[in-house]
C-alpha cells in the first residue's frame, strides 16, 4: 500500500506537524487554565466545607452562619484541651471560678460566625446594584434613544469606557473623599453603595446600551406608527425586551460589587460591629451605619491576625460562604433573565 504513490499523500515537510503542535498548544493552555481554576476552587471548597458543614445533624455549622465573630479561647481544663468562644468562656468562668486564672491562648474572630458579614455584603450588593441600574439604564436610554450622535456623545462614551479602567482602590479613595468626608456621610452603607455603584456603572451602561441596540428597529417604528410617544415606545416596547441583556450585565456587576474590597474599606466596611444593620433607633440611621462585609472580613482574618490551624478555619470558611453567596445571587439573576427571555422572544 504505502509504496503506491498517489496525489493525495501528505507532501514532505513539517507543515502537518506544525498544525498538530499549534493545536496542542491551544489545548494545553485551556487545560492549564482549567487546572488553575480547579485548584483555587477545590482548595477553598474542601477546606471551607470543614467549617461550614459538619458530620452530625443538622450537618450545617449553624453557629458559623448565624453568629457574630468572637474571640476564640484555648486552654487546658482538667487535663483536656478546651476551645471556647468569648461568650461561652465567660459563662464557663462564672460556673467555675477557678477557670479565671487558667492560662489561655486567644485568637480574635476565630470563634462564632460571620452572619453580620453575610448581611452586610447582601445589603451592599442590593443597594449598589439598585443605584447602578437606575443610573446606568437611564444613561443608556439617553445615549441610545434620545441623544443625537455627535462629538459630545462620543466624548461621553469615551469617558464611560475610561471609567471602566480605573482601579478599584481609586474608586475607594474617591468615595472616601466625596461621600465620607465632603458629604459627611461617614463610613456608611450609603457611601459604600454609591462608591460601588460608580465602580460598576461603566459595565452597566455599556451593556445596557448594547442590549437596547439589539432590539429591532421595527418594534420602535411599529409602536411610533400607532401613535405612541417616544417614552411610551421605550417603556412598553423597547425596555422590556432589553431587560434580559441588562440583567446579564448586572450579573457581572454583582460579582464585582460583592467581591471588591478596596472601594468599601474606606467607605462602608467595619472590622467588627456588634449590632446588626436593622438594629437602629430610627429608620434614617440605617443608611448611615457601617457594616461588616465578607471580602473585607476575609482580608482582616487573613492579614491582620496570626495564621494557624484555628484561624484557618474561619478564613477558608468565609471564602467558601462568599463564593456560595455570589453563586446564589448570580443564579437568581440568571433564572430571572431566562424567565424574561421566554416571555419576550423574537
Amino acid at each position: 500500500m504505502s509504496t503506491v504513490s498517489h496525489i493525495f499523500r501528505t507532501p514532505p515537510g513539517g507543515v502537518r506537524r506544525g498544525e498538530r503542535m499549534v493545536f496542542w498548544l491551544f489545548r494545553g493552555a485551556t487545560y492549564f487554565v482549567l487546572l488553575c481554576g480547579a485548584t483555587v476552587f477545590l482548595n477553598i471548597v474542601i477546606k471551607g466545607s470543614h467549617t461550614v458543614f459538619k458530620a452530625e445533624a443538622p450537618f450545617i455549622n449553624t453557629t458559623f452562619l448565624t453568629q457574630a465573630p468572637e474571640s476564640l479561647y484555648i486552654f487546658e481544663w482538667e487535663g483536656k484541651k478546651r476551645e471556647m468562644g468569648d461568650r461561652e468562656f465567660r459563662a464557663f468562668k462564672e460556673q467555675n471560678p477557678a477557670a479565671a486564672k487558667v492560662e489561655t491562648e486567644s485568637y480574635v474572630y476565630s470563634a462564632g460566625g460571620i452572619w453580620p458579614c453575610i448581611v452586610g455584603t447582601v445589603l451592599l450588593v442590593v443597594g449598589s446594584m439598585t443605584i447602578a441600574l437606575a443610573l446606568g439604564v437611564s444613561a443608556a436610554i439617553y445615549l441610545n434613544e434620545y441623544a443625537r450622535d455627535g462629538a459630545f456623545i462620543r466624548f461621553v462614551r469615551l469617558a464611560i469606557l475610561n471609567l471602566a479602567g480605573v482601579p478599584s482602590i481609586v474608586f475607594g479613595l474617591f468615595g472616601f473623599g466625596m461621600f465620607v468626608i465632603y458629604f459627611g456621610w461617614n463610613v456608611s452603607l450609603l457611601a459604600g453603595w454609591f462608591t460601588l455603584a460608580f465602580m460598576v456603572l461603566p459595565v452597566v451602561i455599556t451593556a445596557s446600551e448594547e442590549s437596547l441596540k439589539s432590539v429591532p428597529k421595527g418594534f420602535r417604528e411599529g409602536s411610533l406608527a400607532l401613535g405612541a410617544t417616544k417614552w411610551q415606545t421605550i417603556r412598553k416596547n423597547v425596555l422590556p425586551y432589553a431587560l434580559p441583556g441588562i440583567l446579564t450585565s448586572s450579573i457581572l456587576g454583582i460579582a464585582r460589587v460583592a467581591g471588591e474590597t478596596a472601594p468599601i474599606m474606606f467607605t462602608a466596611a467595619y472590622v467588627v460591629r456588634d449590632k446588626l444593620p436593622w438594629d437602629v433607633e430610627k429608620f434614617g440611621d440605617f443608611f448611615f451605619q457601617g457594616v461588616m462585609a465578607l471580602p473585607y472580613h476575609i482580608y482582616v482574618v487573613s492579614s491582620k491576625i496570626p495564621q494557624n490551624d484555628y484561624t484557618e478555619r474561619v478564613q477558608y470558611g468565609t471564602a467558601f460562604v462568599f463564593l456560595l453567596l455570589v453563586a446564589l445571587i448570580a443564579t437568581a439573576s440568571i433564572v430571572l433573565r431566562s424567565r424574561l427571555r421566554n416571555r419576550y422572544k423574537w
Binding site: 443625537r148 450622535d149 429591532p216 421595527g218 418594534f219 420602535r220 417604528e221 411599529g222 409602536s223 411610533l224 406608527a225 400607532l226 401613535g227 405612541a228 410617544t229 411610551q232 412598553k236 416596547n237 425586551y241 419576550y344 422572544k345 423574537w346
Partner: protein, 277 residues
Amino acid sequence: MVIATPEIMETRRAAPASASPPSAGKDTIVDIDHVDFFYGATQALNDITLAIEAKKVTAFIGPSGCGKSTLLRCLNRMNDLIEGTRVARGTIKIHGVDIYEPDVDVIELRKRVGMVFQKSNPFPKSIYENITYGLRLQGRSDKAKLDEVVEKSLRGAALWDEVKDRLHASGLGLSGGQQQRLCIARAIAVEPQIILMDEPCSALDPVATAKVEELIQELRSRFTIIIVTHNMQQAARCSDRTAFFYLGRLIEYADTRNIFTNPANPQTEAYVSGRFG
C-alpha cells in the same frame, strides 16, 4: 362624503386656503404640493405634486430608490426619525392641514395615519396585546371594549378564524402572512383614516400575498389606502390610482387602468411593460 375633521388638525390658515392647487378635488384627503425632500445633502424627492383621494387605493410604483417609500414615510412623518431629513419645499396637507407645521402633534397625526411596514413587525407579545397596544396607549382599559376591538380588527384583517383560539399566544408564532395581517389588524384597531403600506407583501409567498391583496380590497370601503409596491401586477390588481416615480420625480399619476394599458409617458410605458426596473 364628509370626513369629520379632528379638532387638533383644524385648518389654521383660513385665508390662504384658496391657494390650494387645482388638483385638490372634493374627495382629496392627502394633498402633496411641490414637495422637495432631502436626506442630508441628497435630494430624494423632487417637486412632487399629488392629490390622493379618500377611500381609494393608491399605488406608488417605480424602481428601487425612486423615492416612493420616502414619500410614503413623509405622510406620517416617520422620516422625522432619521437624522438630517427635511422637507425643503412644498406642503403636505391631510384634511387641509399642513402636517409639517410646528403646531401639528405628530402623535395625533400618526393615530390617524396608520402604517404597515415592509418587514412584518408584530411585537413579541400575545396576539391580543398586539392588537390592543395602540388603544392601551390611549388609556383605554375597558376589557369588554378591548375584546370587541380585537375581534373586530382581526375579522377586518381576515385573521379572526385562524387565531381566535390562541389570542393569548405570541404574535411571533404566526406564519409570515399571518404576521403581516396581524400588523394590519393592529393598524386598523386604532381606527385611522389613512393606512400606509410600505411593500407589505415583499416578504410573502404568493398565497399569503393573495390574502393580503384580498384584504386590501375589503378595507378600501373603510380606509384610504396608499400602498408602495415593487410588484406591478399587484398595483394593477388592487389599486384604483397609480403613481409612477422615477429618480425622485413623479412621472405619471392616473387611474390604474390607464397607467397599465395606455400610459401617457414613454418612461411609464417602458417600466410597466418590464423593459427596465
